[in-house]
Amino acid sequence: MLRVEGLEVVYPNGTRALERTDLGFSPGAFTVLLGASGAGKSTLLRSLNGLVRPTSGRVTAGVGDIADKRRLRAHRSKTGMIFQQHQLIGRLSVLDNVLIGRLGFHSTLRTLLPFAAAEKREALQAIERVGLIQYALRRADQLSGGQQQRVGIARALVQKPSLVLADEPVASLDPATADRVLGLLHSICKADAIAAVVSLHQLDFARRYADRIIGLAGGSVVFDGPPSQLGRKEVVSIYRDMAPNAVEQHDEPDFQRKTGTYA
C-alpha cells in the first residue's frame, strides 16, 4: 500500500540523512524503526507523509506519487501522525485538539464553519478510546505527559487512518507510562487493522510489539525482518556507531540524551 523507491534525502545543509532506500509497507503491519540518534528514523518517517521532500526517488501511496499536491493531501488525511512532543495546542481543549485531525476532510471554504456535530461525536469516541473522556473539555496543557500523548493518539484516530506514523511516541515518558501508551497504540492498530510505522529507542518494546523491525544506521537499512531474527549481531550492526558497551545499555529510554549525539 505504501512504497518507498530509491528514496534519498539530503538536507539543504548537505547532511545525507537517508541513502537510496527501497521499502514496502503492507496493510495492518506494526513496523518498528530502530537506529542510533541521527540514523535517519525521523527523516524516513517524515518523508512517508511528505513533511520531508525526497532529494531523489519517490514515495507512492495507493494510487501514486505523493509529490502531487492533491494526492499528498488525500494521503495525509488518511495517515495519522503521532509526535514525540505531542504537538498539541496548549490553550485548546482536548476535544478541539483532536478535531484538528478532521481538517484534512474539509474544503478550505468549509473550514469557515464550525465542526459538525457528527464529527464532534467521532472525536469524542476517539477520546473515549484512549480513556480521556472525563478530560474532553479540559485544556490540553493541564494534562500529564502521558495523557497528552494519548490525546495525540486520539487526534490520529479521528482521521480514521489506514496508516499511523509515530516518531518516538514514548521517548519523553517514564517506562511504565511508555509501556501503557505504546500498548494502547498497538492494540488499537491491531483492532482497526491500521498499519503503523513507529520509531523507538527501546529494544524491549520493539521486540514485544513489532511484527517487523527495520534497523537504520547512517541513513541505510541494515536490518529488515521479524523480531525473532533480531539477534545480538544485528543489534550491534544497528547501533554500530555507538561505543560497543553502550549498546548493552540502549534499552534505557533516554540513552541518547545521557551520552550525547552520534550524528
Binding site: R76, Q87, R91, F105
Partner: protein
C-alpha cells in the same frame, strides 16, 4: 594558593574592564540626554521665570471648571466613543490579513512579505493627525474622517504587533495540522489563530483604549467628537470649560481603561 590567585586577578581585571565599559555607556547616554534638553531650551531659566505667572493665570481661569454646557458635550463624547470602537474594528479587519502576509511563517513568499512590511511601516509613519487633516479634506468634517484616520494609522501599528505575535507561535502544532492533511488556510485558521488569539485580543484592546484618547485629539482638526468642543472652548478662551471637558474626557478614559482591563482578564 598562589596558583589560583593569578586567574582570580585576571577575572577581577576583566570584571573591572566590563564595569568601565558600562560606565562609559551610561556617561554617553547622560550627555546625549543633557544635549537634547539643552537644544530644546529646557535650561533657559528666563523663560520658566516668565512662564510661571502666565501658567498661574491660565490655571486660575480654569478653576472652578464650568460644567454648564455638559448637555451639549454628551453627544460629542458618545461620538468619540463610537469613533474609537469603529476605528478599532476597521483596523482589526485590515490588520489581520496584512499581518498574516507580513509574518514570515504565514507569508506565501518573500516578495509579499517585504511588500506588506513596507505598507505597514508607511501607515505607521504617517501620524494620525496628518491622516485626519487629509480625510477631513476628502470626506468633510465629522466623525467619519476621524475613524478613517484612526483605523489607517492603527493598521500600521496593529499589523506589526499582530505579525510579531504570529511569528512567535509554536511551530509544532502547525506541523501536526499539516500532517493531518490541513490546507495552508486551515493551518492558519486552526493552528495559528488559536495560539495567537489572546495576544491579538490584548493588542486590540490596548489599541481601543488608545483610540479613545487619540480621537479626542483628532477632533481638533475637525474630525468630530469631543475634541471639536475642546478646540472650540480654547478658541473662545473659556479655560473653565476646557478644564471641565478635560475632566469629562479623563472620566471616560478611566471607564474605557477599566472595561479594557476587564475584557483582557476575561480573554486570558
Amino acid at each position: 594558593m598562589s596558583a589560583t590567585s593569578a586567574p582570580f586577578a585576571e577575572i577581577l581585571a576583566q570584571d573591572r574592564r566590563i564595569a568601565l565599559r558600562y560606565a562609559g555607556l551610561a556617561g554617553t547616554i547622560l550627555v546625549v540626554c543633557a544635549a537634547a534638553l539643552w537644544i530644546t531650551g529646557f535650561f533657559d531659566a528666563q523663560r520658566f521665570i516668565e512662564g510661571g505667572p502666565a501658567l498661574a493665570q491660565v490655571f486660575s481661569e480654569m478653576v472652578p471648571p464650568d460644567f454648564g454646557r455638559w448637555r451639549a458635550w454628551m453627544r460629542p463624547l458618545l461620538d468619540t466613543l463610537a469613533m474609537s470602537i469603529a476605528g478599532t474594528i476597521l483596523a482589526v479587519v485590515l490588520s489581520l490579513p496584512l499581518a498574516l502576509l507580513a509574518a514570515s511563517n504565514t507569508s506565501p513568499n518573500a516578495v509579499v512579505y517585504q511588500f506588506c512590511r513596507v505598507i505597514l511601516s508607511f501607515l505607521r509613519s504617517v501620524p494620525e493627525i496628518i491622516m485626519g487633516i487629509i480625510f477631513v479634506a476628502a470626506v468633510g468634517f465629522g466623525a467619519l474622517p476621524g475613524v478613517l484616520a484612526l483605523a489607517l494609522h492603527s493598521v500600521g501599528m496593529m499589523g506589526k504587533f499582530y505579525a510579531e505575535a504570529i511569528e512567535h507561535v509554536d511551530p509544532k502544532p502547525l506541523e501536526a495540522a499539516r500532517a493531518a492533511g490541513a490546507s495552508p488556510f486551515q493551518v492558519i485558521s486552526h493552528a495559528v489563530m488559536p495560539q495567537v488569539m489572546p495576544q491579538l485580543a490584548d493588542i486590540t484592546i490596548y489599541r481601543w483604549e488608545y483610540h479613545f484618547r487619540a480621537s479626542a485629539v483628532l477632533g481638533i482638526v475637525g474630525a468630530g467628537g469631543i475634541g471639536f468642543e475642546l478646540i472650540a472652548a480654547l478658541r473662545v478662551i473659556r479655560y473653565d470649560q476646557v478644564l471641565a471637558i478635560l475632566i469629562c474626557i479623563l472620566l471616560c478614559v478611566i471607564v474605557v481603561d477599566a472595561i479594557g482591563a476587564a475584557l483582557r482578564r476575561k480573554l486570558k
